[in-house]
Amino acid sequence: NAGVTQTPKFRILKIGQSMTLQCTQDMNHNYMYWYRQDPGMGLKLIYYSVGAGITDKGEVPNGYNVSRSTTEDFPLRLELAAPSQTSVYFCASTPGASGNAQYFGPGTRLTVT
């Protein structure tokens, strides 16, 4: 199993550009999450999904959109990128039963200039 994979690893965007961060998991997990991590800060939940076709906002959803058309994929869309979205983005998944560990991808480092 590859686990949780994310692409790209690094990206530089200009202000106002858009992009999609890709996340795929091959563990057949129902729950998937997107977090951002700023330097010296904890992980902040952006969006999450409890299954295909179901998504919900987390703590910091503004400026982002998600979709979940399959169990495996959970892309995060940034529209009109802003410098405040410079961060490291992590995708995670869990089977769904309460208490299960979250499995994280390697992250995408995004810089908006």
Binding site: G42, Y48, A92, Q102, G105, P106, G107
Partner: protein
């Protein structure tokens, strides 16, 4: 407001000693608490979970305690090794609220020879 606090200052200890990291929280009633390890440039990795009705959990050289009266969890690494050097994050799962976690900011541990 709800808050999770971990010591933001790095903890430096000598190899072979026991490292103790603290996670304090306010205004939460967590169903359980998890600890993760994060190495530079990588995603967090799950280590241990402790539920609200448990006082202590052990796994090899790791021990976690959970005091819901003090609103505190302690994370111990015994016989520490330089390979234990990393940032350690605590995360709370609230009662109800799906499977979402709220993360602390993490404490960096450095184990020196």
């Amino acid at each position: 407001s709800q808050k999770i606090e971990q010591n933001s200052e790095a903890l430096n200890i000598q190899e072979g000693k026991t490292a103790t990291l603290t996670c304090n929280y306010t205004n939460y009633s967590p169903a359980y608490l998890q600890w993760y390890r994060q190495d530079p440039g990588r995603g967090p990795v799950f280590l241990l979970l402790i539920r609200e009705n448990e006082k202590e959990k052990r796994k090899e050289r790791l021990k976690v305690t959970f005091d819901t009266t003090l609103k505190q969890s302690l994370f111990h690494i015994t016989a520490s090794q330089p390979a234990d050097s990393a940032t350690y994050l605590c995360a709370l799962k609230l009662t109800g609220g799906g499977n979402k976690l709220t993360f602390g900011t993490g404490t960096q541990l450095k184990v020196e020879l």
